[in-house]
């Protein structure tokens, strides 16, 4: 009953015999430029936080999304404003990238402002959750971002719930959850996907397969060549995307989104990528205990910024000169400087950071508030 594929041919993926056409065929040159900017934004957010953290200005753990940005950017790009998302620890940029198309500074867009996200990172009262829980455990009912706990895969059931409610209310939205490949071993992953399949709920499960779950390699996590094949066991489609290529991610995710939006139910999109740094910043110096250097070098070879630029050059959307103007790609967080990024990107983030730094801490007595809602 399920149409599944590991192939990059969308026609085959959709099980139709329509001429080969990809969702990305509809992207304009402006879309490509926007995607490139968003990749810069995600990258800059990450390296900026790495630096702020090194300077001791941040608490908590930073789970770098370096080298994995194409997954977030490509997945979020095709969503409608009213769609739900559920990002987890490695997805901090997703909070502001949601509905970014609606205009970076547009207060009505259905994503968080950079001020809100930075306030959360800095633990300030101006965070949407008033910094009661840390880092990625943020969300917004109004902006349709599900708040996660630390318990991995724990929001997939909530994603089924929010879409069910929308369906009952006559809204044709989807929910997109982001998950590391390791998280999929949790029982609740299975339970929720199974129920979504039964109920044909529009839940798109993005797997960021970065080859490692903390210190554990994939062959200790599951026994499949392509993780996407897990979908076969639920009778739902499973797609494989090149997680370094924002366009391939967009294509595969949009197939999943269209499948969901047309009432056919859930699916899984495996995006193959590689974790650039340690599991968290505390692990940067320890990751070589379990991860061979060659693998790291190999895994970081295809920087998503570089991959997109190459594509744009070959399509005539970008000149080599333009591409070289902001050479952030293929540089570690320690090497890259603000000059490697478009000024617009640096400005945007800097504004958020400065807002957060100046924002007030919540008052200590808030610790005892909101345990219950008083009616």
């Amino acid at each position: 009953m399920a149409t599944t594929t590991t192939d990059t041919d969308p026609a085959q993926a959709q099980g139709t015999d329509s001429p080969v056409s990809r969702p990305s065929d509809r992207l304009t040159h402006d879309d490509y430029r926007e995607l490139l900017l968003q990749l810069y934004l995600a990258r800059y957010f990450d390296v900026r936080l790495i630096k702020e953290k090194k300077r001791g200005r941040l608490r908590g753990t930073l789970y770098s999304s370096h080298n994995q940005e194409a997954i977030l950017v490509g997945s979020l790009y095709g969503l409608e404003p009213m769609d739900w998302i559920s990002p987890i620890h490695r997805d901090m940029p997703a909070f502001f990238l949601k509905d970014f198309k609606a205009g970076w500074e547009n207060p009505d867009r259905m994503g968080m402002s950079i001020e809100e996200v930075c306030s959360q990172v800095w633990g300030k009262a101006t965070s949407p959750g008033r910094a009661r829980d840390n880092w990625s455990h943020i969300g917004s009912k109004a902006k349709r971002i599900i708040h996660s706990t630390s318990m991995l895969a724990g929001t997939i059931p909530a994603a089924t719930g929010v879409t069910l409610a929308d369906r009952l209310n006559g809204l044709n939205t989807i929910a997109m959850t982001f998950n590391g490949e390791g998280s999929t071993a949790q029982g609740v992953f299975h339970e929720a996907i199974n129920f979504a399949a039964v109920e044909k709920l529009p839940v798109v499960t993005i797997i960021e397969n970065n080859q490692w779950a903390y210190g554990t390699p994939t062959h200790y996590e599951y026994a499949l060549e392509d993780f996407a094949r897990r979908a076969d066991g639920y009778g739902i489609p499973g797609f494989v995307a090149d997680g370094q290529d924002v366009i391939d991610v967009y294509d595969k995710v949009m197939m999943a989104v269209e499948h969901a939006r047309s009432g056919k139910g859930p699916s899984i999109v495996e995006c193959k990528t590689f974790r650039a740094y340690g599991h968290g910043d505390h692990d940067d110096d320890r990751a070589d205990r379990y991860r061979p250097e060659e693998e790291v070098v190999e895994g970081r070879k295809r920087d998503p910024l570089h991959v997109l630029k190459e594509r744009m050059i070959s399509m005539g959307i970008l000149t080599q000169e333009e591409a070289d103007k902001h050479p952030a790609e293929n540089k570690g967080a320690g090497e890259v400087t603000d000059a490697d990024f478009p000024p617009k990107v640096v400005e945007y983030l800097t504004k958020g950071v400065q807002f957060a730094i100046k924002a007030p801490l919540p008052d200590e007595t808030e610790g005892a508030m909101w345990v219950f809602k008083e009616d």
Partner: protein, 335 residues
Amino acid sequence: MAATAVGTEKKNYLTALKEAIAEEMARNPHMICMGEDIGALGGAFGVTDGLIAEYGRERVYDMPISEATIVGTACGLCLNGKTVMVEMQFIDFISCGFDQIVNMTATYHYRTAGDVSMPMVIRGPAGAYGGGALYHSQMNEAWFANSPGLKIVCPSTVYDAKGLMKAALRDPNPVIFYEIKDLYRRREIEEVLPEEDYIVPLGKARVAREGDAITIVSYGQNVYHCLKAAENLESEGYQAEVIDIRSIVPLDEETIIESLKKTNRLLVVNEAPMTCGFAGEILSRMTEKAFEYLDAPPMRITRMDTPVPWVKPLELYVLPSVEKITAGALKLIKY
């Protein structure tokens, strides 16, 4: 089909719960029911009988055997504006959805500084004394009492069953609702219910019997054991006051303290395991807050710290009984 109380007919505990849920479904178009076999079957005990016929799968979901995802889906529904009644086929199976309750649902309002509330009732048949053995007899309310953000309720009368269920379904917070399955169809406790809509507010205890010799505090099925023990005590010349707390979280401390002012003796009875059970919590709060009124060491009679064994003599051996309560109360009175 929402049942309208006839006003003269006596009803049982099960019917009271059923009516409460049906009336709330009729009243609140955003209310959804989820659980295993709650549709065509009407649930293992029939509490949701008739709902699927009335509302269909739009609002009544026969769910896969996935307690974690049932709770988690309910959580998503609440996040998106719905009110959800979740049935655990037996409250014992709540352990399979534990993380989604204590970490995801209970804390949602707290984590979001009040932005998101969780109007969810997780209810199910509970309690021992029926030969249900280890996994169909539990009273596991203490796990949730130690998990901030959850309200917890356990009615012992037919009137309270209906009124508390309605209050729980209107509460904006997640409520764990313990239904005593041994009372579902107990004839002796049947009651005529008011015809009009009513609720029993969460957090208000009920004085089930007045007295001045000792305060016996309990909830659920044990209330009846306490009342029988009180009769025994009466025949020995002592009037015991029996308080049915009804709400575990929040707890009505005032009613207990008021009682202790006149009786000066406290006995708490609870069929859950002793250690870190709610009986101990009541003892602690009263020694902290009513120490000056206590003329004897407060006492609790609980299940021993054992699971609930299957075979009757073993089961009764580890549980509170009328005899144990009578003996304990006498010891306290004569202290």
